[in-house]
Every structure is written in C-alpha cells, then in structure tokens.
Amino acid sequence: MKARVHVTLKNGVLDPQGKAIGHSLNRLGFPEVGDVRQGKYIELEIAETDKTKAKARLEDMCKKLLANTVIENYSIELVG
C-alpha cells in the first residue's frame, strides 16, 4: 500500500521559509495571504497489507528518521 507522510514545523517554532514565501506571495499580488507554514511531503510504497501494522511501522519511521520531533510534527495517511 501507499503511505503519505506530512512533516510540518510545530506551532511556536519560527518558520523563516514560510514567512519568506508569504512575503513573496503578497508582493506578487496575493494580499489575501496571511501566515504561511511550509513543510515536507513524503510518499512511500509499503510492502504491508495490514493497515494497523503499517501505521505502527510508519510511526517508527517518523520518529527515527523522517521527522525531528524536537521541532516537527508528522501525520500519516494510508492509501489503498
């Protein structure tokens, strides 16, 4: 099955890249854009059919490598 992992900065952690993106959008004629937070999107192909097991393994992957939980949150979505 396929897994989609989103890694985002925790609330309260300064995101200068998000800020720069927001400023650029404002300058480009999108004044409606307020706060911008950027993150990472990772797609993984998983050789596992049991969703519960796959979820547990992905949690482990996120904690060990995909996210740095000092500053980042992660969310896991399983597809198919």
């Binding site: 952690v13 300064l14 200068p16 490598l65 740095n68 000092v70 500053i71």
Partner: protein, 229 residues
Amino acid sequence: MKAAVLVFPGSNREGDVAQAIELVTGRRPAMVWHGDGDFEKTDLIVVPGGFSYGDYLRCGAMAAQSPVMAEVKRRAAQGVPVLGICNGFQIVTEAGLLPGVLMRNAHLKFVCADVHLKVETSQSLFTNRYQAGQVIKVPVAHAEGNYFADAETLKRLEDRGQIAFRYCAPDGTVDGSGNPNGSINNIAGIFNETKTVMGLMPHPENATEPMFGGTDGKALFEGMVEALS
C-alpha cells in the same frame, strides 16, 4: 592523544580538522569512513563539517543513522570524548548525543564570516586552555546554525552550565548584534551533561595558523591534547 576523524559522503572539513590535530599532536588522526561499524580505539572522535549526504531530509539526519555513528554512540556512552563541528554538530544532535536541533538561519542566508565567541567555561576537556568570559574570533560557514531547544531543555542546559560558547560582539557583549544566525540565547556550542561531548557551529580548526587570519581556535585543540594525553 590519538584521534579519529569521521568521513561521510559530502564531508568537506575533515582535512582541515585532521591538519589542526596533527599541528598540535604531531600525529595524523585516523580517518574513518561512515560505513565502518568498527574502528580502532581512540582518545577522541571528531565529527567534521561539510554537507553529509547532501543535507538530504534534514542536515545531519542521514549521517546520524550511519553504521559509524552507531559505534560512536556506544563509545560516547562509555565516556569517549566526541567533538562535533558545524555539520558534525548537526549530526551529533540528530544522533541524540546532544539535545536540541540546528535550524535554518533566521535570515535564510548562508553565512560565511569571522564571528566572536564568548567562552562560557574553562571547566571542560575542550575549553580548559581558555578563560571563562574570554572572547575569541573564529569563522563560521553554515546555512543551518540556528540552535533551538524547547524551554525546559534550554533551562536545563543553562542551569547545568552546558553552554560552551555564545556568539557575542567584539567586546564580549552577548546580544543580537553578534548573533549570525538567530540562535536561541546566542548559543554557538553546547556540552552534554558529562561534558564529554561538545558540538559547535564555528570552525576552530580554521583558526589555528596565522595565515588563516587568526589562531584563536588552536587552544581548543591544545586543551584536548592536554586533557587526553
């Protein structure tokens, strides 16, 4: 003092630090490839600067999971001193040997410049040749040197004297003017609880001979030789 310098794909300051070590010990350190799960016993392990694994995912994240780092973690737990410089600091934090994380510089720019550092303590095997409060000048070269830790961790580091160096103005004033990357509390380098692991963003190895423009980093290496020989 016998030292090992780790080499990852993308390391680029391993030669500089090896040269600095040779300068003060007269002895070339062992260069250890990232895939080596075992290597000769040494008095010191240095994790050098560079762009290990192209900074993929997060700076230091991939290198922290390499076979050599598993062995470094075992040895660090036994008390073998570990020095992480720049990307090496990022790697040892990602490996959990030091708390916190190095984030993208607050101004989003790569910074390559000489900076002033205030030595916070002389009570460590890394800083014993300096005086507490002394101001030294060494270069930095990084895009992710913005140290961050949560409030609880930060308080613990401060309370236990685990701050090694802070960015400061030339006169030693610790304020925003001397901070090149937005690092919290102007932190440039920290120790672990036992002060056997130190990580810092600046490059003392590039301030060891007059032709480099300064020699303030040399005492760090001389101090280690004194403590570990």
